[in-house]
Symmetry: C2
Subunit: 158 residues, 2 copies
DNA sequence: GTTAGTGCAAACCTTTTGCAGCTCT
DNA sequence: AGAGCTGCAAAAGGTTTGCACTAAC
């Protein structure tokens, strides 16, 4: 059984690798999606129907404290739940379409530049960063433009 | 009675200005702090003891939908509540000290640059942006350095 | 006079906690 | 063996909803 990214980090800290944690960590490491606690719980139940929702929360808390995952909320587009992703990836911003809910990731040097500007101007040492932008994706921009045009046409007729 | 920033915006949209809303809007406009629903409710109760918590939530929802306030969560440092601030101010990032909870605001051109980079690279039109950074403020950096030094000294003695 | 807004109570959803029993090392 | 972890049930915290009454326009 190959330990994946997060799992190795945990072993190094002497944290017990239980069957339940293995399942959850595999899912977090491998799933491409941004998972919230409930989605993670649903996926985990498929692999172990006995696994309890509480264990999901406790594992997520553990990973947060260990700095192994980032917590997002994607601008609360879908509700108040939090989303989690492995912190192994390079720093990136999340860009959410406020019409269709699509989430894109943005990697770019402006993020590092922002962090450095904040450190030098406020004297903080930055540990974690979360950048979430909301707007309209190209597809939804077209649809919205179309709808606006139709609305104008209807008003002109009336 | 002078209508303040947000209040004028609402009038223009034909939304009723009730006594309760006036109180809440005044507080949001004037309070320097970042208010969550409960703090806002506590402050509002001082001005009108009958004002109900639910009205606070409904007003905040209204303002969010109207794009008149930004919703923050300050990295959930204190809990899962949301914070609100009038959107009249220039775009800025929030920087939270993860040790003492102090919140600073950062205004700088990297924010606009980031927004533009995202728009041009992903083709999104950005409507709203939220940037929250966590780290240690200068004061807490000193304290932490001090604590680390003491810990090292203790270990050397043992 | 109408329609929107308020207060109250109760529901809701997500997350946390207490505790007894189980399991990883 | 023993500390750490899990499951279950129950609570907590923050927010939303249904409905009858009230107030703004």
């Amino acid at each position: 059984m190959a330990g994946t990214g997060i799992q190795n980090s945990l072993k190094e800290r002497g944290i017990r690798l239980t069957r339940q944690r293995r399942i959850l960590l595999d899912l977090l490491d491998r799933s491409g999606r941004h998972l919230d606690a409930d989605s993670l719980f649903q996926l985990a139940k498929e692999k172990d129907p006995k696994l309890n929702r509480v264990t999901v929360y406790r594992t997520l808390t553990l990973l947060k404290k260990g700095g192994l995952v980032d917590e997002l909320d994607l601008l609360h587009f879908k509700g108040d739940q939090h989303y989690y992703e492995s912190k192994l990836k390079q720093e990136h911003a999340h860009v959410i379409c406020l019409r269709c809910g699509k989430v894109e990731e943005f990697f770019g040097d402006s993020l590092q530049r922002l962090r450095k500007q904040v450190e030098s101007s406020l004297g903080f040492s930055i540990v974690t960063a979360r950048t979430e932008l909301g707007g309209h994706c190209p597809d939804c921009q077209s649809v919205l433009a179309q709808e606006a045009a139709e609305k104008n046409a209807a008003e002109a007729k009336a």
